[in-house]
C-alpha cells in the first residue's frame, strides 16, 4: 500500500519537500547539540526539563486520544466513525514517533539509551513508559495497516485483529496514566504531586487530540476526494467539548487546593505561572494566552449552533489546541521546576537551536502523518470510485 504515497500532485510533493527541509534544519541543529551538549538549550541546573519533555508529554496525549474514536466505533458500533477511525490510528502512530524523538532529543547521552533495556528497572516509571509507548505504537500500526488493507480489498478485517483493537483501548489509557506518573510520584515538586494529574492528562488529551483530528479531517476533505463525514466531525466536536470542560474543571480543582489550603509550596508554582514571582514573569503572558484561548474555545463549543458551522468549529479547535499546547507542552513542565528546590527562581526560555530541533521533530511527525494519510486517502478514494 505504501506505493500510494509515491504518487501525488505537485502540491503534495511541495509539502513533502517543505517538511524535509524543516527536518534537515532541525537535524543540523541537533548535530550541534549532540556535539556540544544540552548547554545549547535554555535548560539549567534548576530547570532541567523544558520544551522537549513538554512536547513529549503533550504528544503522548495526542496519541492516546485515538481511543476516543476507537471506543464509539468498536465498542458502541457507532458507524459514523467507520471512515475516520483510521485517521485517529495513524495520528496516534505519528504522535508516538514524535514522542520517541523528543525523548531522544532530551537525552544527555542518547547512544546509551539502550541501557534502559539492558538494565531493566521496573521500579522506574520511565521503564514502564518505554514499554507502554512502544506497545501502543505497535498496536496502532498493526491495527491501522491491517484494517486499511482489508478495506482496500473490500473484505472484512481478519478476526485476529479484534482482540488487538480491544486491547488498544486500555492501552491508550495506560500510556497517558504512566506518563502522568512520571511527574505525580515525585516528592518535593508540589506542582506535580497531585492525584488528579493522570485524570487531568487524560481529559486534556481527549480534548486536544480530537481537536487536532477535526482540523486534520477538514483539511483532508479540502485537499482530497475523501470525506471523513460531516456527522463524524460533529460527533468528535461533542467529545472535544465535554473533555475540555472536564480538563478546565480539574485545573480549577488544583487552584482550589493550592490557594484554599494556603500552603506556600503549593501556591508558588501557580503564582509564578500566572502572576510571576519577584518580577520573574516570563511565562505569565503565555499562560494567560492559554487561559483566554481555552475560554474562547469553550464559549464557542458549548453552543451546538456555533459548533455546527465548520468554519467556526475549526477556529474553536485551533484555539483549544493552542491553549492546551501551551498549558501542557510548556507550563506544566516549567511550573514543576519554578520555584526550585531552594524556593529560588531560575527562569527558562528555549533557545533558537532548541526551537529548531523541536520544529524538526514536529516536521518528522507530520511527514509520517502525511505519508500514512496519503495511503489511507488513496484507499478511501478507490473505495469511493468502486461504489459509484
Amino acid at each position: 500500500m505504501l506505493e500510494k504515497a509515491l504518487s501525488g500532485s505537485n502540491r503534495y510533493w511541495a509539502w513533502i519537500f517543505f517538511l524535509l527541509a524543516v527536518i534537515g534544519v532541525g537535524f543540523i541543529a541537533y548535530m550541534k547539540q549532540l556535539n556540544e551538549g544540552l548547554g545549547i538549550t535554555g535548560l539549567s541546573r534548576d530547570v532541567s526539563w523544558g520544551l522537549y519533555i513538554g512536547q513529549f508529554t503533550f504528544l503522548v496525549g495526542v496519541a492516546a486520544s485515538a481511543v476516543m474514536l476507537v471506543i464509539p466505533y468498536y465498542l458502541h458500533d457507532f458507524k459514523k466513525f467507520g471512515k475516520i477511525v483510521i485517521l485517529g490510528e495513524f495520528l496516534a502512530v505519528s504522535a508516538v514517533i514524535m514522542c520517541v524523538l523528543f525523548i531522544m532529543a532530551d537525552m544527555g547521552q542518547p547512544m546509551r539509551v539502550a541501557n534502559i533495556l539492558l538494565h531493566p528497572t521496573p521500579g522506574s516509571i520511565v521503564f514502564w513508559d518505554v514499554v507502554v509507548l512502544n506497545g501502543y505504537l505497535l498496536l496502532n500500526l498493526i491495527i491501522g495497516w491491517t484494517t486499511l488493507g482489508a478495506d482496500r480489498k473490500g473484505v472484512k478485517p481478519p478476526d485476529w485483529v479484534k482482540p488487538l483493537i480491544y486491547l488498544s483501548i486500555p492501552w491508550a489509557v495506560s500510556i497517558h496514566t504512566v506518563t502522568a506518573f512520571l511527574y505525580a510520584g515525585i516528592p518535593g515538586r508540589h506542582f506535580w504531586l497531585t492525584a488528579v494529574m493522570a485524570a487531568r492528562f487524560l481529559a486534556s488529551a481527549f480534548a486536544g487530540g480530537p481537536a487536532l483530528l477535526i482540523i486534520l479531517a477538514l483539511l483532508v476533505r479540502k485537499f482530497s476526494k475523501f470525506d471523513p463525514g460531516t456527522e463524524a466531525i460533529q460527533a468528535i466536536g461533542k467529545i472535544v467539548t465535554y473533555a475540555m470542560f472536564a480538563n478546565v474543571f480539574l485545573l480549577g480543582l488544583e487552584f482550589f487546593t493550592a490557594f484554599y489550603s494556603n500552603i506556600p509550596g503549593h501556591m508558588h508554582p501557580f503564582q509564578y505561572l500566572y502572576a510571576g514571582i519577584d518580577g520573574h514573569d516570563k511565562l505569565v503572558p503565555l499562560m494567560w494566552t492559554s487561559s483566554i484561548l481555552a475560554v474562547v474555545a469553550l464559549a464557542i463549543l458549548v453552543f451546538p449552533n456555533l459548533r455546527r458551522n465548520e468554519g467556526i468549529l475549526a477556529f474553536a479547535c485551533v484555539a483549544l489546541f493552542s491553549s492546551l499546547w501551551i498549558d501542557k507542552g510548556f507550563g506544566l513542565i516549567i511550573g514543576g521546576f519554578v520555584p526550585n528546590m531552594f524556593e529560588g527562581v531560575t527562569e527558562y526560555w528555549p533557545t533558537m537551536l532548541e526551537a529548531l530541533i523541536t520544529l524538526g521533530v514536529w516536521a518528522t511527525g507530520f511527514l509520517l502523518l502525511t505519508v500514512l494519510y496519503k495511503v489511507a486517502i488513496a484507499v478511501r478514494e478507490e473505495d469511493a470510485a468502486v461504489e459509484h
Binding site: 548547554g39 532541567s48 526539563w49 544527555g108 542518547p110 534502559i116 522506574s124 520511565v126 516528592p187 518535593g188
Partner: protein
C-alpha cells in the same frame, strides 16, 4: 550413514565454532560473576552500616571555613568551574538558611542570628532516595554495604529524572564539556573527569573510604563536619546527634536524609 568430504568439513567446522563459542561464553560468565573489585579490599578501608554526616554550622565562622571544605571536595573530584551559572556543577556548596530550609523559613520574626546563618549543602545520601527510585538504568543506586548513594557516570543516559526527583537539589548535569573548565594545575589524575550529558553529585568520597581516609570535606572542616556510622549507637556521630539539637532538610518527604545540622548554642539547645 555415509558422509562426503564437504559434509564432514561443514559439520566439523560448525562444531568447532560452537565449541569455542560456548567455551568462551562459560569462561566469560565465570569472569563476570566475580566481585567488581578485582583486587582484595584494602584492610584500611572504613566500613559502616550506613554512613551519615553531622554538620555543625556554629563551627563554620568565616567564609574561608566554608571555602576550604568546598575546595577540598571540588579539587579532588575534578568538579569543573563552568562560567555560565545555568550550567553550574557543584557537589558541595554554601547557601542561606532560607534556601536550605525553605519549608520552615516562612517565619519572619524568628531568631535573626539563625536566619543569617549559612549552611553547607551536599547529597544527603538518603535512606529512601527518590533519585534511585526514578533512575531507569540503575546508574544511581544505593550501595548495599554502607548506604552511600552512588552515581555511575558511565551508565547514566542523561535523562535527568534524578534531578527532577531529588528534593535537595544535590545533582548537577554536564550541560557543557566539563574538561576545559577544570584548571590544569588543579586536575586530580587519580579521579575520572566527566563527559557531556551525564549527571554527577557527591558520592561521599567512596574512593577515599576505600583506602581508609575520611571524606575530603570532613577532613578539611576542622571538626565542623563529622562523618560516621548512623546505625552504630556508639559512634561519635550518634553521640553528637543524641546530645545536640539537630535538624534535617525536608524530613517530611520521607527520604530519611543522612545529614544532621547542628545550628549552635551547644548544650542548652
Amino acid at each position: 550413514m555415509s558422509m562426503n568430504r564437504r559434509q564432514f568439513i561443514t559439520v566439523a567446522g560448525i562444531s568447532t565454532v560452537l565449541g569455542v563459542g560456548s567455551a568462551s561464553v562459560i569462561i566469560g560468565l565465570g569472569k563476570s560473576s566475580l566481585e567488581a573489585a578485582q583486587i582484595s579490599p584494602d584492610p584500611r578501608a572504613l566500613k559502616a552500616k550506613r554512613w551519615g554526616f553531622v554538620v555543625d554550622v556554629s563551627k563554620l565562622a568565616s567564609d574561608e571555613d566554608y571555602r576550604k571544605c568546598i575546595d577540598a571536595c571540588h579539587d579532588i573530584h575534578n568538579v569543573p568551574n563552568n562560567p555560565n551559572p545555568m550550567h553550574e556543577v557543584k557537589w558541595i556548596w554554601k547557601d542561606t538558611y532560607e534556601h536550605t530550609f525553605p519549608n520552615v523559613a516562612e517565619d519572619k520574626i524568628m531568631n535573626v542570628e539563625l536566619q543569617e546563618k549559612n549552611f553547607l549543602l551536599f547529597c544527603n545520601h538518603c535512606a529512601n532516595p527518590a533519585c534511585v527510585r526514578v533512575c531507569p538504568t540503575k546508574a544511581t543506586f544505593k550501595r548495599k554495604s554502607d548506604g552511600i548513594v552512588m552515581q555511575d557516570m558511565h551508565r547514566c543516559i542523561g535523562c535527568r529524572f534524578c534531578m527532577a526527583a531529588c528534593p535537595f537539589g544535590a545533582r548537577s548535569f554536564n550541560y557543557v564539556d566539563p574538561r576545559p573548565n577544570i584548571a590544569k594545575e588543579k586536575q586530580n589524575k587519580t579521579f575520572p573527569t566527566r563527559m557531556i550529558g551525564v549527571v554527577e553529585k557527591c558520592t561521599a568520597c567512596y574512593e577515599r573510604l576505600a583506602i581508609g581516609q575520611q571524606p575530603a570535606c570532613a577532613e578539611a572542616s576542622n571538626g565542623a563536619i563529622v562523618f560516621g556510622d548512623l546505625e552504630d549507637p556508639d559512634s561519635e556521630i550518634r553521640k553528637l546527634i543524641s546530645e545536640k539539637y539537630t535538624i534535617r532538610r525536608k524530613p517530611e518527604l520521607g527520604t530519611q536524609p543522612g545529614i544532621y545540622y547542628v545550628i549552635g548554642g551547644g548544650e542548652h539547645a
